[in-house]
């Protein structure tokens, strides 16, 4: 048996985000899934995938929320909890920072027909995830 590349363990943690984003998952859980200490895990994850595990988890939740806003009529509060976030205030702030508009305005900008585009959800998930943005980036230009 060949030695498994270390990235494969990190991918396992990233897959856990994709599978269990709706649950109260945090970076400690991800580090455990990869079998690494939290600090080492965060460093290695960033090295392999170019962003922190926290950013991946948050943007996956925001991407799933955006998909639910486009494809369902569930309320913003319900959607916030459905994607594993527990504060509607921070959800609205993070969403607005990532997508440039509030969840309600985002929903209003999509005609219902858009949900019938036959795009596999792997494509949806990979391409729909927003760039992670921090408070520091809020100065000046609005998000792309």
């Amino acid at each position: 048996m060949r030695v498994v590349p270390s990235e494969r363990h990190l991918l396992r943690a990233r897959d856990l985000v994709d599978a269990s984003y709706a649950e109260p998952l945090d970076v400690d859980d991800l580090a455990r899934a990869a079998g690494l200490s939290r600090a080492h895990f965060s460093r290695e994850f960033r090295r392999a995938f170019g962003e922190s595990p926290h950013a991946y988890l948050l943007t996956r939740r925001l991407e799933r929320a955006a998909a639910l806003l486009r494809a369902t009529d569930r309320s913003v509060v319900e959607i916030c909890f459905a994607v594993g976030l527990r504060s509607v205030g921070s959800f609205t702030t993070s969403f607005t920072r990532a997508y440039g508009v509030t969840p309600t305005a985002y929903r209003a900008s999509f005609p219902p027909a858009s949900q019938y585009a036959l795009i596999p959800s792997c494509v949806l998930r990979a391409y729909g995830r927003p760039q992670h943005r921090t408070f520091r980036e809020d100065d000046g230009a609005s998000p792309a």
């Binding site: 897959d15 392999a48 019938y116 036959l118 596999p120 959800s121």
Partner: protein, 142 residues
């Protein structure tokens, strides 16, 4: 008429891959031939029991001089990060397949979810190749 007969994915370890595809995914072994005259190259193919004319080729990353070590390392890394291979499968019943494969120890990264084109879910092979399993709904008339 041109048809697909084989498509290949890189695998980290051919024995591990063979066990996964035959024991967990439930596919059949099609060919397992090692050629000493080609430096021990192992032609290893598997496929779904009900689809005899399409096989998946499980390719080991070759050693030098076939492939230089630096490139081999890049492939290895891409594969481990989950960006090397992509296979889309269909099933008559996504929920039933999901439960059956989960019971055999396959870990899904997406559980069955309704999409405009049907119901689908996703898992990986041990090497990190991404598989999507879709129950396709009747196509809409355009």
């Amino acid at each position: 008429m041109i048809k697909i007969s084989f498509a290949g994915v890189w695998v980290h370890d051919q024995d591990e891959a063979l066990a996964f595809y035959t024991e967990k995914l439930g596919w059949e072994l099609r060919a397992d031939v090692t050629l000493p005259e080609l430096g021990g190259y192992r032609w290893l193919t598997v496929g779904p029991p009900d689809q005899a004319d399409v096989s998946l080729l499980l390719n080991a990353i070759p050693p030098p001089p076939v492939l230089d070590a630096a490139t081999a390392e890049q492939i290895e890394s891409l594969m481990a990060k989950g960006w090397a291979g992509n296979v889309l499968l269909t099933t008559d019943d996504a929920q039933a397949s999901y439960e059956e494969l989960t019971a055999r120890g396959i870990e899904f990264s997406e559980s069955p979810e309704e999409r405009p084109y049907g119901i689908d879910c996703a898992f990986r092979d041990p090497s990190g190749n991404q598989f999507r399993l879709t129950q396709v709904s009747e196509p809409a008339v355009v």
